[in-house]
Symmetry: C2
Subunit: 223 residues, 2 copies
């Protein structure tokens, strides 16, 4: 059986769970406390980052982007990338945007301040970091709204890795109570409601972390 | 003709120049002062980052990883990735390592402090930033040495995108005088000497930036 090493409220781990589910691939989960940098985990991924996919045959696939490309090549029949060069370029551009840029500018900081500091480090959040990350988040939400207004899905006419990466990020940020949702007519909200209804998202949205509870609307598709 | 929008001493731009040259693809260069965030450049890449490849037919390919994947798919006959799943996973893992992790932990900071601050911002370097980046660099050089001792090329038995990404980074760091090379018998030094001898690297190593000169050994393959 495939084993996915993941970390709690890690958007990249959630993204790969969504990819595996959308491709109808079964897997087991193993929680890694990646912030402890355990030597056994560093042998799986010297970068020390989740997720890492361990194949039944022993192949070790470390890192969200590497796993996504690997699964696309192994299961092209359920493509989440698009077939022609133009859509593959756009999928990969926005995958980098939502997986790396949004993580770096927003999610890593808010996860550290609102979750890890409370549950792991027992330290108060740094208000100036919260403020900077929230300001960055509002630009990212504007961009998601712009994409949702101009396209059926965020990457184009079909659902792709882009939607899964963006939904994984928003699910973490929403869990942490960091998103002020615009009115119910907004296209961004409509897109995220569609994502929340997918079976691949339902399981993720049903999980609760001990020590931090999400807002009431968190797992409700009609929020 | 292909047009590559690049920035001076940008390791990701240098990486794509190496990829294009190794695949025997001709291209023209256009210098972008990406730190100015000009609106025309932001329409090419909303992330505001170099490089961006502009195809003769009008297709716009933004970002080093996206360009590398695009060129691999378009010209599989000169593959720089490897053919089987195991080597493709390893190539992509180390590509992320040398393109993103090394940039984030070392090169972006040293380029800012030693080049942009001198040439663009007219400000003194921050010594504590220099010190932290140099400490990170020594770990990365150790890792390159370890890879060079255990494999013919950094990614495995064949030269791949990994070697081009690592060489692009080292060329920038060496230009800035940031690398203390170990003795001439070291495997890391031997690997970089081999890279410096390649025609794809010769042109890059012959360039000089006004305002900042490299150390004398910089472009010498027998350094």
């Amino acid at each position: 059986m495939r084993l996915l090493h993941e970390a709690p409220l890690d958007p990249r781990s959630r993204f790969i769970r969504l990819v595996l589910s959308e491709k109808n691939l079964s897997f087991e989960l193993r929680e890694e406390r990646s912030w402890e940098r355990a030597p056994e985990f560093l042998t799986l991924n010297p970068a020390g980052e989740t997720p890492v996919l361990r194949e039944a045959g022993g192949l070790n696939v470390p890192g969200a982007t590497v796993i996504a490309e690997y699964l696309e090549e192994l299961y092209p029949e359920h493509s989440l990338m698009g077939g022609d060069a133009v859509s593959r370029v756009e999928t990969r551009r926005l995958l980098g945007w939502f997986l790396d840029k949004l993580s770096r500018e927003v999610t890593e900081a808010l996860r550290e301040e609102k979750f890890l500091k409370r549950v792991v480090y027992n330290a108060p959040p740094d208000v100036s970091v919260l403020r900077a990350a929230s300001a960055n988040l509002s630009h990212h939400l504007d961009y998601i709204a712009w994409l949702a207004e101009h396209r059926r899905w965020l990457g184009g006419e079909r659902m792709t890795l882009v939607d899964l990466a963006a939904a994984a990020q928003l699910s973490v940020l929403d869990y942490l109570g960091s998103i002020e949702w615009p009115s119910s007519e907004s296209e961004a909200r409509g897109w995220y409601a569609r994502m929340k209804s997918r079976p691949s998202m339902r399981e993720i949205l049903s999980e609760r972390m001990s020590g931090v509870m999400p807002p009431r609307h968190y797992s409700d598709p009609d929020f």
